[in-house]
């Protein structure tokens, strides 16, 4: 993954998705995987590739929570579950102490720049809450102590 935009590289990754029917969403996902975000020039490039208006492509990209339109995330991403099953076992309190620890609220990058904190509504680990995803890896049955240890380990 490189965060530097390259139209040439973007065309290369988007090409296979132009062969499948309605490939805009997979193409956006591939762009984000490569560049860590959906950079503004990608909107115009995808509009051209899929014969859509830029407004249509932007409309799709901005609809889905997964796509980052305002810059890439920090090197590490913590997605903390905010949904009911985790709330029932203390997710709200865990969220508050995590925000305090990272110095970041939902959607923000922590002061040190190492972590982006994101809310997620359910990871399907609802019998083992509170749960979270650290850099794409699920972790469950958390409390503040266990979560912070995992964060330290991941950032090391």
């Amino acid at each position: 993954m490189s965060n530097i935009w390259s139209e040439e590289r973007a065309k290369e990754i988007v090409a296979p998705h132009m062969l499948i029917r309605s490939g805009l969403l997979p193409a956006l996902q591939a762009i984000q995987l490569e560049f860590g975000q959906v950079p503004r020039p990608a909107i115009a490039m995808l509009a051209h590739a899929f014969n859509l208006s830029r407004a249509e492509v932007f409309g799709v990209a901005s609809f889905y929570h997964d796509f980052r339109l305002d810059g890439p995330a920090a090197p590490h991403v913590l997605k903390l579950c905010r949904a009911e099953a985790c709330q029932a076992v203390g997710a709200d309190a865990l969220a508050e102490s995590t925000k305090a620890r990272l110095g970041a609220s939902w959607g923000e990058t922590a002061a040190g720049g190492a972590w982006t904190l994101e809310p997620v509504f359910c990871l399907g680990l609802c019998a083992s809450g509170p749960c979270a995803m650290i850099d794409g890896e699920p972790v469950a049955r958390l409390d503040a102590e266990k979560l912070f240890a995992l964060l330290d380990e991941a950032a090391r």
């Binding site: 499948i20 029917r21 309605s22 490939g23 805009l24 969403l25 997979p26 956006l28 996902q29 899929f50 409309g59 799709v60 609809f63 889905y64 929570h65 997964d66 796509f67 949904a83 009911e84 099953a85 985790c86 709330q87 029932a88 076992v89 997620v120 509504f121 359910c122 990871l123 399907g124 680990l125 609802c126 019998a127 083992s128 809450g129 749960c131 995803m133 794409g136 890896e137 699920p138 972790v139 469950a140 049955r141």
Partner: protein
Amino acid sequence: MSGLRARLSHDAAAMALGGKAVARAMQENGVEVLPVGSRGLFWLEPLLEMETSLGWQAFGPVSEGDLPAIVDAVRRGAPHPLSLGRIEDHPFLRAQTRLTFERCGTIDPVSLDAYASAGGIQGLKRAIDFGPARIVEEIAASGLRGRGGAGFPAAVKWSGAAAATCQEKYVVCNADEGDSGTYADRMLMEGDPFLLIEGMIIAGIAIGAAKGYIYIRSEYPHAITAMRRAVNVACDHGLLGKAVLGSAYAFDIEIRAGAGSYVCGEETALLESLEGRRGQVRAKPPLPVHHGLFGKPTVINNVLTLAAAPTILAKGGAFYHDFGRGRSRGTMPVQLAGDIRFGGLFETAFGPTLETLVSEAGGGTRSGRPIRAVQVGGPLGAYFPPALFDTPFDYEEFTKRGGLLGHGGIVVFNDTVDMAHQARFAMEFCAIESCGKCTPCRIGSVRGMETIDRILKEADNTGRIALLKDLCDVMRAGSLCALGGFVPYPVLSAIEHFPEDFAPRCL
């Protein structure tokens, strides 16, 4: 001494609880690891089953540090404190009726041979012999209803799409399992993916479709990987392709990942998303069976609905219909979640009461505190107090009590829960996830949050509570889909059953 073999759950939940480290430790201790899905006893994950002279013996919850002692105990035939004996004899499993989840946790999810020798593919073989009309008859005889939440009879969708004369039709599997408290789709896709593939092929034959899509939410990366691998294996072995098992039927499956939108679990929003657009709901009619994906006749069903089809075809519609009660036939994989002692997947014929499910099977709360409320059916389901725990798990019985079964998730809350907070969260969630199409949902959810905030601040709030109820009425009647339409369920049930939580508070 070597040759020890063990099954280790590779389910995302087991991995989240340290399964990866256990797998590594097993290799270091010279144990051959057979990756399997989860049995669904999550308080025992990571769950390990070792092959011994007495058969498979289970241990759990296992951490990497336990491994040397377990291996040693197995080699010496000695007892170990984490030993659970034969997992099949565990009371949590013995009390279940596993039809859909019969194999989950027992076989290698990517081995088609293992799937076939454990009873898989039988349904599809019979479906190929039967042909489309008889398949739909069997599904109709089974009484199978949509397991995604709406409970719509599956056979009505299938026969509608089968009757359409269009050449191009689609089977779409809704694997956008966004309801909190549910994880059965995820478990099945990770633990027994061929069952879903088999079910989709059967649906394809029934309606005359040669292409299927599985739309899996992006929050389930393990399930996406597991399904992609299984589809590749199925293609390599002729289960998918131009001639399914050498028959005249063709069927292919494409996996698509979602992008973090809850509303895409609504069937028409999902179709929009599959077509590469914003996941905004469509007005119905036209129904997807007539005008679905790419405007073509489409059967769109939940994972569990499609995964029930192979059993129904293999054993007959009447066999499946024998389970359950009233108009709720067959089995439902109930998912016990939240503050619950024995949290896990409990597949049962419809009919047990909430009390049986939560207190007997689930063992009450994990925290040891008394239960104050359960939310059944996800974020759009009603909150029930213990006074309603005599409600049988049945579509109609839940409707009668002002609730819904949804996708079968039960989230248990203890006595520390603040129900006004939960009602506010329901509105907040709706505001975050609304697709924006219907004003009552888009704006009403925001006004709902504000109104609840005011209710808690004002000394005399009776007028505000009436206003909130009125708003709920507007949302229910004025929203196209279940997001805006059902969010009144948690809000109104919280007000009705827990009015004391809506009393004004000092701030």
